[in-house]
């Protein structure tokens, strides 16, 4: 008896027990999918975060924590505790060694999307991924006071086209409870998809942020002080505060000295951070959660393999006769061993393939949802070497755990199955 018929026999036997074998296979596939999926989401989340900002040497905000500053200035997560005065911003911009600055002003929203006040330099200096500049899918940067540039997701979700009107809500009110509808904006441009928080942002000029707030005080409209959109154009719209500043330095090393001098600035409590370092701090914070996820995936695999071993062991009792007949027609115990191991191997390999298929199926369904709901863009790529290694390891573990029922099968005596016990 050569090895090939044993595999055929193993597959045939599995097909014969298709319900239990099928369920075991499914359990294995699900556990493999979970392990690969957890790894995938972990890596993609990391990459997605790391790709959000590049080419910016420093981020400056009011003094808080570096991770908090990074989160609200770049990821639009959370809010600033304080703003920087316009003078403070000017002071930073004029420092030696500063190549460019982009002021950011946050606080308003448009139908759930954050509104960012900035300058035209934002479109020149903001970079993401591998130092890619922002590109316009259509239109151009804001030119008029009431021009707005919307991110790709905003345009898709709200159906905006170039030239459409847009009303900014005060604060974060998704219901548009208090709106700046007396001063509507016009969509002047739509940014191409970046896979970052930029896609979910409405960009207007700093002056526009100031303009829509001239007749507001302490978070409410001042009665009888309505200033029309035309009147506001005649006013001095120099911003009083900005939320954060992106800074580019002339030299890389200059970033260290500039960071220290901004942090030591006595005029105002400021915090300058290296975005790449803050990003790493953020990941270090999440390190524990990452380890927990990895541990869970390992246990998921262990549970899947235990299920398979249980099925094979339980099957041994039912298959006493089958195995005994095989023995009686000349099968050596090592053939029975090979048969059982082949069953485990077939289940593991099929489980791996089905697991991969399930993973890509789930990713295809989940991708747009994760992107829209959490801003987590998961790129669907072919399995990388690490994934294949993981799969290989799991298949090997499956085959190895198959040796236990196989060893039991060998030990069952020929007579054991043929003699009908009373």
């Amino acid at each position: 008896m050569n090895r090939f018929p044993i595999i055929a026999l193993a597959v045939g036997s599995l097909i014969n027990r298709r319900l239990t074998a099928g369920l075991t296979l499914f359990a294995l596939a699900v556990s493999m999918m979970l392990v690969l999926g957890v790894e995938k989401v972990r890596n993609e989340a990391k990459a997605s975060f790391a790709n959000t900002i590049s080419g910016t040497d420093l981020i400056v905000g009011a003094r808080s924590g570096s991770v908090q500053l990074l989160l609200y200035s770049v990821f639009r997560i959370g809010n600033a505790t304080n703003n920087i005065s316009w003078n403070g911003y000017q002071n930073i911009a004029r420092r030696p060694g500063v190549a460019w600055t982009v002021p950011l002003s946050l606080g308003d929203s448009h139908r759930g999307y954050k509104v960012l006040g900035t300058t035209g330099d934002y479109f020149r200096h903001y970079r993401y991924g591998k130092k890619r500049n922002l590109a316009f899918a259509s239109g151009q940067p804001f030119d008029d006071l009431f021009d707005a540039v919307v991110g790709w997701d905003v345009a898709q979700a709200l159906g905006y086209k170039e030239g459409d009107p847009l009303v900014v809500a005060h604060g974060l009110g998704r219901q548009g409870f208090q709106t700046h509808k007396d001063k509507p904006f016009r969509v002047s441009g739509i940014l191409a998809k970046t896979g970052t928080a930029v896609d979910r942002t409405v960009h207007v000029s700093l002056e526009a942020i100031e303009a829509i707030h001239v007749d507001w005080k302490s978070g409410a409209r001042v009665p009888g002080m309505a200033v029309s959109a035309d009147q506001v154009r005649q006013m001095d719209l120099t911003p009083r505060t900005v939320t954060a500043v992106l800074v580019g330095t002339e030299t890389r090393f200059g970033a260290f000295g500039l960071m220290r001098s901004i942090n030591d600035y006595r005029g105002e409590p400021l915090l300058a951070i290296l975005p790449g370092v803050a990003l790493q701090e953020l990941w270090d914070l999440m390190g524990t959660a990452e380890v927990a996820l990895s541990v869970i995936s390992v246990f998921v695999i262990v549970a899947g393999l235990l299920g398979m071993v249980t099925m094979l062991l339980a099957g041994l009792n039912e298959r006493r006769r089958e195995l005994a007949i095989l023995r009686s027609v000349g099968a050596h115990p090592r053939h029975l061993f090979a048969l059982l191991v082949s069953e485990a191997a077939s289940l593991s390999i099929l489980g791996a393939i089905l697991g991969l298929a399930l993973l890509y199926g789930v990713l295809a369904i989940a991708q747009p949802i994760l992107d829209a709901q959490f801003g987590l863009y998961i790129e669907i790529t072919l399995p990388n070497r690490r994934d294949l290694f993981t799969l290989g390891l799991m298949v090997t573990a499956g085959i190895v755990s198959g040796t236990f029922p196989a060893w039991r099968a060998c030990r069952q005596a020929l007579a054991d199955g043929l003699v009908v016990r009373i």
């Binding site: 590049s54 040497d57 009011a62 809010n79 600033a80 304080n82 703003n83 920087i84 005065s85 003078n87 403070g88 606080g107 308003d108 005060h170 604060g171 974060l172 942020i209 707030h213 507001w216 005080k217 302490s218 978070g219 409410a220 009083r240 505060t241 939320t243 030299t251 890389r252 090393f253 970033a255 260290f256 000295g257 220290r260 942090n263 030591d264 006595r266 005029g267 105002e268 409590p269 290296l274 975005p275 790449g276 370092v277 790493q280 701090e281």
Partner: protein, 191 residues
């Protein structure tokens, strides 16, 4: 929210003139290492508490104290001994400068330097002598003949200064920014 921001900004403006001086953290056993790679040049800045380098942070009182400070500054200045780059990168120390309020007056730091960067050190001297924590500031500039081979640097600082326990390292290269915690057990900074 926005209104609050404006309000807070105004309050801040009013308070600006009386903003308290900020005090940087000073942790014994823990230094700071800043590394920037620009083309074929590697610029390194090492800031270490006096206690890590010589074991004390008061102004040197005895001849032994002064000798210890001078010896430590000499060791710090030997950049090629403190930083080991991959051989293939062919990095040579071009400039090293060590400053510390502990050695004020003896002018030691100037001996080997071509360029002077005193603004920093002076400012820090003022700040830290007030707080009674003296630090060593060392600046190094390396030039590498094959910068493509720069993938890491072994920081031998811990071998030279046994009191040092940790360096908070930050690095900026063409690939971006990064941070690492260097310890005697893990003294390698990956680029």
């Amino acid at each position: 929210m926005r209104g609050f921001g404006v309000l807070a900004g105004t309050v801040l403006l009013a308070a600006a003139s009386t903003a308290p001086a900020q005090h940087g953290p000073h942790v014994h056993g823990q230094g700071e290492l800043n590394v920037a790679v620009e083309g074929d040049t590697v610029i390194i800045e090492l800031i270490a508490p006096g206690s890590d380098i010589v074991g004390f942070e008061h102004a040197p009182e005895t001849d032994a104290d002064r000798a210890a400070v001078a010896a430590a500054a000499g060791k710090l200045e030997d950049g090629e001994r403190i930083f080991a780059f991959p051989k293939a990168a062919g990095c040579r120390l071009e400039e090293a400068e060590v400053e510390s309020e502990l050695m004020d007056g003896d002018g030691h730091g100037d001996e080997h330097s071509e360029e002077h960067a005193h603004e920093h050190a002076d400012k820090h001297s003022d700040e830290h002598s007030e707080e009674g924590h003296a630090e060593f500031h060392a600046h190094y500039r390396f030039r590498c003949s094959a910068p493509a081979a720069l993938d890491s640097v072994d920081v031998r600082y811990f071998a030279t200064f046994s009191r040092a326990e940790e360096l908070d390292a930050r690095i900026i290269t063409s690939r971006g920014q990064g941070a690492a915690e260097l310890t005697p057990a893990a003294p390698r900074l990956a680029f």
